[in-house]
């Protein structure tokens, strides 16, 4: 498909038939997008749909193999971000691109510094930043050290950086992922101001409600290509989601309840004060029974990651107790917790889940290096580990030519299936699953759900953390919402709607 530029003004950005290949992979194929000047244009798609690659191409960080880019009607070719910046395109990265040890001023002017002789003209830089900050209501102090700024402020510094370079088109890569709800509102306010000044915004997200509230046009990507261009008035969140995954959504669903009254994990008054003195977890209490899935909903960055790491013993709580099957494990090591039957599917598999440069069977041992069939006493049982890896590969449908390849060679979905298979081995009594189906294709997603369901029928207690509300509602026996480190509401997954959950997650549904 292709989009024709609308009549009248040339589109701010026009991408035609972009294709990008990596060794063994096609990341983008035949991508077409037209962004009208002076609008907020949303680009939505699943993780892995090729959005990031496309944005890197548009920002000159990668070069397309085929296709053309036109900015304001003029064809351009970007060899580096510097070229894109020159063409008036700026990018606000999802992970902030800020140097903590430098001041706001230094971060902003870096790369296009005002000069006085060979020196940097600090006075001019100062004045210019102040001016931009004031005219868009960003409220940024040029002399502060970035290290001292909060998340919302950092994002405004990022936006200021882009504006300082005279960008007329701003790319925002999942800008709300790290923001708390008020900050999201402020950001959207800022975006509307920018639009009012005639700037164009390309907004990448997979949070569909946000997209529907802020975008003027929406382009949907799937499997590396653009599949639809729609306008927000014409679609619902559900319709958009179906466009993203390409079929009617598979809805995870639990059958009959298997919840018993045997408490497996009890958390009492868990509080964690971060290194910076901020309270990250605030008096959290809950109980998960055998055969129960407790789902935790929340906007990312509200303490989920810290909760999981505290439960795993990677962080120590400031106060509160954690009880596993009647035994206080608050001060136990990660190893003891694992040996006591805690399985762990981490949020970021590359960081915590696999050793990329080790073979699959070595990855089978990881996290289970004190237990059969991987070891006999202090010695590794290589044969046992290999045999059991073969079992996981078959049972969990890990697509691999063998168990001697490195984990890095597998796709993300297959790495995830390996992790799930591993964590389900050794008869765990509790599974802590953080975004278990993130970045995984639809088929693998259904398989992972099925495995969790089966284990639950076998009396497994599960703590499920996810950003996918349908997954949470469909898989959980009980649902809690986490907001700024507190569990603020409980919902019955049988009756709650994603909309209700969404408002609870943003704090809109709170009475106080």
């Amino acid at each position: 498909m292709s989009t024709e530029p609308p009549a009248g003004a040339a589109p701010a950005v026009h991408l035609t038939a972009i294709t990008k290949r990596f060794p063994g992979v096609v990341a983008n194929s035949d991508v077409n997008i037209s962004v009208r000047a002076g609008t907020v244009h949303a680009l939505v798609g699943e993780n892995g749909a090729g959005k990031s690659t496309l944005m890197k191409i548009l920002y000159g960080m990668q070069q397309p193999d085929e296709g053309t880019i036109a900015v304001n009607g003029k064809p351009v070719s970007f060899g580096s971000p510097a070229d894109a910046i020159r063409a008036g395109i700026g990018m606000v990265h999802q992970h902030f691109m800020l140097a903590d040890n430098l001041t706001v001023l230094e971060n902003v002017v870096l790369g296009s510094e005002p000069r006085k002789g060979v020196g940097l003209d600090f006075a001019a830089a100062h004045a210019r930043i102040k001016e931009i900050s004031d005219s868009y209501g960003l409220g940024v102090d040029p002399d502060r050290l970035v290290d001292d700024l909060g998340v919302g402020e950092r994002q405004r510094v990022e936006i200021l950086k882009v504006l300082y370079r005279g960008a007329r088109t701003l790319i925002l890569d999942e800008p709300t992922a790290v923001l708390v709800p008020q900050e999201v509102d402020e950001l959207f306010g800022n975006l509307r101001d920018l639009k009012a000044e005639g700037l164009t915004i390309l907004f990448i997200s997979h949070k569909l409600d946000e997209v529907l509230s802020v975008a003027d046009d929406i382009t949907v990507m799937r499997r590396g290509t653009t599949v639809a261009s729609v306008s927000p008035e014409d679609v619902t969140a559900r319709k958009l989601a179906e466009l993203m995954v390409g079929s009617a959504l598979p809805v995870p669903e639990l059958r009959e309840s298997t919840v018993t009254d045997e408490a497996v994990l009890s958390v009492e008054g868990l509080t964690l004060v971060g290194a910076d003195g901020r309270t990250v977890l605030n008096d959290i209490s809950f109980t998960i029974h055998a055969g129960e899935v407790l789902g935790i909903a929340g906007v990312e960055g509200n303490g989920q990651a810290e909760l999981v790491e505290t439960l795993m013993g990677i962080r120590s709580p400031t106060s509160g107790t954690i009880t596993l099957s009647g035994k206080d494990i608050t001060n136990e090591s990660t190893r003891h917790r694992r040996e006591a039957g805690v399985g762990y599917i981490p949020e970021d598999r590359h960081r915590q889940g696999v050793l990329l440069e080790a073979t699959l069977w070595e990855n089978r041992i990881l996290g289970h290096q004190t237990r059969k069939p991987n070891v006999r006493g202090p010695l590794l049982d290589r044969r046992g580990a290999k045999a059991d890896t073969e079992r996981i590969v078959v049972e969990y449908d890990v697509r691999t030519p063998g168990i001697d390849v490195n984990a890095a060679a597998l796709s993300g979905g297959n790495q995830q299936k390996l992790i799930v298979g591993r964590e389900m081995s050794g008869a765990p009594i509790l599974l802590i699953a953080s975004h278990p189906t993130r970045g995984v294709d639809v088929g693998a997603q259904a398989a992972i759900w099925e495995h969790i369901r089966r284990a639950r029928a076998d009396h497994l207690a599960v703590l499920l953390i996810s950003a996918d509300l349908d997954e949470l509602i469909g898989m959980s026996d009980t649902l809690s919402v986490i907001l700024r480190g507190r569990l603020v509401a409980d919902h019955d997954p049988a009756t709650v709607t994603p909309e209700q959950l969404g408002s609870a997650m943003t704090g809109a549904g709170r009475e106080d």
Binding site: S333, T334, P346, Q352, L356, L380, P401, A409, G413
Partner: protein
């Protein structure tokens, strides 16, 4: 599968061989530019290779280098840089020499006496390395910096202790200062080799045992697995239940203990006293050998023999009028080019394997993976 293994071995060998060839070319170029004959050097080297004495000396040097390399490699496996093997070895050799040479030791049975000397050396090495481990786990001080500092401190400490007022004696008839000579009961006999007046260090067996233990612990035990896991991904190791602090302490102590052994072959096999002729810089040779041998027990053995041969063959270069330092240049170039070559091979491997798996399964990888 078989094909892949064959190719994998080929790739593994290609890097060091390539580096050797490159280094040889660089040296040939340098020799040519400085007006020496490359042929003379090759001749001198190959003549040296035929002399039993040179070979014995090479094996003896290799024994020492191998121990130093193992000490370094233990840390390398978990991305821990023990730059301090040098200081650990010298302090350990000096103190254990003082112990072994002490008068009361003369009455101790030979085996026990040797064992005590070796254990003392291991303890001293471990303790000196332990300081760096302590600073790292309690204060986050980079072990690179602390071990560099500890190397220099060890140098001054040794020269302080090696004083007639303290642990040293003056050798009669010379102004050489050293620890009291270890009498025969504390010595380790060497192996005779026909055609050579020098013997092969008896403690060459120690190096073999250490190499075997190194292989066994690293590839067959849980500890070895956790060491490797920590090196590959600290965060994944932590999530899997590894206490990285404990690992740092244990592996630093082990590394230091092996470093303590480095001085033993020479001390107990030929010089019998610690004096200032114990070569400095062995720790750095250990790093070079561990790099060239890729921390692999056999690889390091080959590398240490090569290093030992180059060092000893260098002696015959001076005779033929070529500065022997051409060998040092060659060694330096080998190290630099071998690490570059390994890095290139590693990158190539990751890409090739992804491609191979991708085409074997006939599908495309999800896209974020590639770009991330």
């Amino acid at each position: 599968m078989r094909n892949r293994t064959a190719r994998s071995i080929l790739l593994g060998v290609a890097a060091p061989v390539g580096a050797l060839v490159f280094a040889a070319l660089v040296c040939a170029l340098i020799l040519a530019v400085t007006g020496h004959s490359v042929g003379d050097v090759v001749d001198a080297m190959s003549t040296a290779a035929q002399r039993p004495r040179t070979l014995v000396n090479s094996v003896n040097s290799a024994t020492v280098y191998y121990l130093a390399a193992v000490a370094v490699a233990i840390g390398f496996r978990m991305k821990l840089f023990n730059i301090g093997v040098d200081g650990q070895y010298r302090l350990a050799a000096m103190l254990s020499a003082a112990l072994a040479g002490a008068a009361f030791m003369d009455s101790v049975p030979s085996v026990l006496r040797i064992a005590m000397t070796v254990v003392a050396a291991m303890l001293v090495g471990a303790a000196w390395a332990g300081l760096a481990a302590l600073l790292k786990v309690t204060r986050g001080v980079s072990e690179v910096i602390s071990t560099i500092m500890l190397n220099s401190i060890a140098t001054y400490l040794v020269s302080y202790l090696l004083n007639p007022a303290r642990l040293a004696v003056t050798t009669a008839g010379s102004n050489n200062i050293g620890t009291r000579k270890i009498t025969e009961g504390g010595q380790v006999a060497g192996f005779e080799v026909s055609g050579s007046s020098t013997k092969v260090f008896g403690l060459v067996l120690l190096a073999v045992v250490v190499g075997f233990l190194y292989w066994f612990v690293l590839s067959r035990t849980r500890f070895g697995f956790e060491l490797k896991a920590t090196g590959l991904s600290e965060s994944a190791a932590v999530a899997s239940g590894v206490s990285v602090k404990k690992m740092v302490v244990i592996s630093m102590l082990l590394s230091g203990a092996v470093a303590g052994l480095v001085g033993m072959p020479q001390l107990l096999g030929s010089s019998y006293t610690y004096s200032l002729d114990f070569p400095p810089g062995l720790g750095f040779v250990g790093i070079a050998v561990a790099l060239l041998g890729r921390n692999h027990p056999i690889g390091m053995m080959v590398a240490s023999l090569l290093w030992g041969f180059l060092d000893n063959a260098a002696n015959s270069l001076d005779i033929s009028g070529v500065p022997r330092e051409i060998v040092l240049i060659m060694q330096g170039v080998i190290v630099l080019s071998v690490v570059v070559a390994y890095e290139l091979v590693r990158r190539y491997r990751v890409r090739a394997e992804q491609q191979a798996v991708g085409s074997a399964l006939g599908r495309t990888k999800p896209l974020e993976e590639v770009s991330a």
